[in-house]
């Protein structure tokens, strides 16, 4: 993702091109982030970009993306944090409109920016001095009078000129200077590092700038992190709730069947986001909390009412034999369906209560698709909450149920069918961003590599499978 696009940034060099672009930029600049920080001068300049651009003819065009990496590199070197801070703040000021989410943070930053720019001219220039001797004076000028276009113009002319950057759309530059929204590709690896950083800091205390530091990736800006963090937090809340619910279910299931217990939280793999590593195993250990599930699932109910649950529990034993008769179509076809859709294969299975969870589901953001646990097990009944559990204890007609002893215990044989395993595996491979269903603590990369080398596998991924 390294684009040098610097569209946002780069305008410096493009004295030639300016001309026509200027006007358009001006307009845009207003709404957009500025930053062209190729120079220390610009640092401060950027604060005033709007004004600057208006009067200035330089008109760099955004499309021009050249130079920046080195310049920026320079800039960041000399500018140091201060410049970055300022830049960020400045940027954020502009971005307020664009990102509602970040409003609060941004506003604060905006205030900071003001302060910084006011007081920072000296420091800014100081830090920028490495880059440009005149920066200090320029900076001050700019800072103190935002309308000082002519002055700026001069300055601009001298340097490469900051130009209005319009481009947020095109930006793919990865300068560390904060720029407009850059499209960040949140690969699983990147996300994983992000999550690690966040967890290290503590989710609630995780601040984008610190996360950025911890991640140590140049391509990311604080803003990228900030918005990603926001999404992460909101998803996390939902996932936590769902996890908890799933935990209670899986505990129950475990009690009944013992089978997939260790797998525990079974099906919540539909959690689409980041939470798995955190939610993962520890809070849910069904194995360990055999007796604790009572208190835990009650409050966690997202789907059904406690009363419903109980009645279901009641019903389970009764229904077990009943469930033996379910038609086979349950399994493979339901599995074959895309997970998100909850086709209710066997209405006969379900007691009337089943409707309720479905009814509730839409209301709860946590359950976009009523599919969670069911998908995990062969007995899958893609209905959320209780019904699923119910299904699980039913025998999966596809598996070797008949051999189980008859009687009160539901013949639960959780041997996965090939299709389900294949589907699950395919899912992981095609959607690497899906959260880990169990969230086990990952092994350290080095120790795995060392061990693999010991076994004669020099590198992974291997070139031949």
């Amino acid at each position: 993702m390294l684009a040098v696009s610097a569209a946002p940034l780069t305008n410096n060099n493009k004295d030639e091109r300016q001309g026509e672009m200027v006007e358009s930029f001006t307009m845009d600049v207003d709404a957009q982030e500025f930053p062209d920080f190729s120079d220390a001068n610009h640092l401060l300049d950027s604060i005033d970009l709007d004004d600057l651009f208006m009067g200035i003819d330089d008109g760099d065009m955004l499309p021009d993306l050249e130079m920046d990496p080195e310049i920026l590199g320079d800039f960041s070197l000399s500018g140091g944090e201060e410049s970055e801070v300022i830049n960020t703040s400045v940027l954020s000021v502009d971005r307020v409109d664009e990102e509602d989410n970040n409003n609060n943070t941004l506003k604060k930053e905006a205030e900071e920016a003001d302060k910084i720019s006011g007081s920072g001219s000296g420091s800014g220039s100081g830090s920028g001095s490495g880059l440009g001797s005149s920066s200090s004076s320029k900076g001050e000028e700019i800072v103190s009078k935002r309308e000082d276009q002519p002055g700026l113009k001069t300055l601009r002319g001298k340097d490469h000129g900051d130009k209005p950057r319009k481009s947020s759309a095109q930006t793919k530059s990865n300068n560390n200077q904060s720029k407009k929204k850059m499209k960040v590709d949140w690969t699983p690896e990147l996300h994983r590092r992000f999550v690690q950083a966040v967890e290290q800091l503590g989710v609630d205390k995780a601040v984008p700038s610190r996360i950025l530091e911890l991640m140590g990736i140049d391509c990311l800006t604080r803003h990228n992190i900030a918005s990603h963090l926001q999404k992460y937090r909101s998803h996390r809340k939902h996932l936590l709730a769902r996890e908890a619910e799933a935990a209670s279910w899986s505990q129950r299931r475990q009690m009944y069947g013992g089978a997939a217990a260790a797998g525990g939280r079974g099906g919540k793999r539909d959690m689409n986001t980041w939470i798995a590593p955190t939610i993962g195993f520890p809070p849910i250990t069904p194995v360990h909390h055999h007796h604790h599930h009572h208190p835990s699932f009650r409050p966690l109910h997202v789907w059904g009412h406690p009363s419903m649950d109980q009645s279901l529990m009641h019903m389970w034993p009764k229904h077990v034999p009943h469930s033996l008769s379910p038609p086979p179509p349950l399994t493979p076809p339901s599995w074959a369906q895309p997970r998100p859709t909850p086709p209710p294969p066997d209405p006969s299975y379900w007691h009337p209560h089943q409707r309720v969870p479905n009814g509730l589901t839409p209301g709860t953001p946590c359950f976009p698709q009523p599919l969670p646990a069911a998908t995990r097990f062969p007995a899958r009944v893609p209905v959320p909450g209780i019904p699923q559990h119910h299904a699980m204890y039913k025998v999966d007609p596809g598996i070797g149920v008949p051999t189980r002893q008859p009687g009160p215990n539901p013949p639960i044989d959780f041997h996965p069918s090939k299709e389900s395993v294949d589907a699950a595996i395919g899912d992981v491979l095609s959607k690497p961003w899906l959260p880990l269903p169990l969230g086990l603590k990952p092994p350290s990369t080095e120790s795995v590599m060392v061990e693999l080398q010991r076994q004669g596998v020099p590198k992974i991924p291997p070139t031949c499978a």
Partner: protein, 94 residues
């Protein structure tokens, strides 16, 4: 490249977790991953073992449960226990 190794390992880890959800054994997992995801069994087994080291408790319980699951007696006992302990719920319901 370190990065791709790390993410490869992460993928294998993820896949193993999925297998765990299916209550599969290590061997079953090796076979499934090899067949469906083209992952060498030795890699699967190595990552599994490393996971086991990092999550000992979990794996101990998992193994134990799997063993018990094989025996119908244990299952029946569990169910009976569960039924008797479920009286609490019933009471509440009432």
């Amino acid at each position: 490249m370190d990065d791709s190794s790390a993410s490869y390992i992460h993928t294998v880890h993820h896949l193993i977790e999925e297998c765990l959800v299916f209550n599969m054994s290590k061997e079953e997992c090796m076979e499934a991953l090899s067949k469906h995801a083209n992952i060498k069994p030795v890699i699967t087994s190595t990552v599994w073992k490393e996971l086991e080291k990092e999550n000992r408790e979990f794996f101990e319980a998992y193994t134990k449960n799997r063993a018990e699951r094989g025996s119908g007696m244990a299952t029946r006992e569990k169910i009976q226990n569960m039924l008797s302990s479920s009286t609490t719920i019933r009471d509440c319901k009432d």
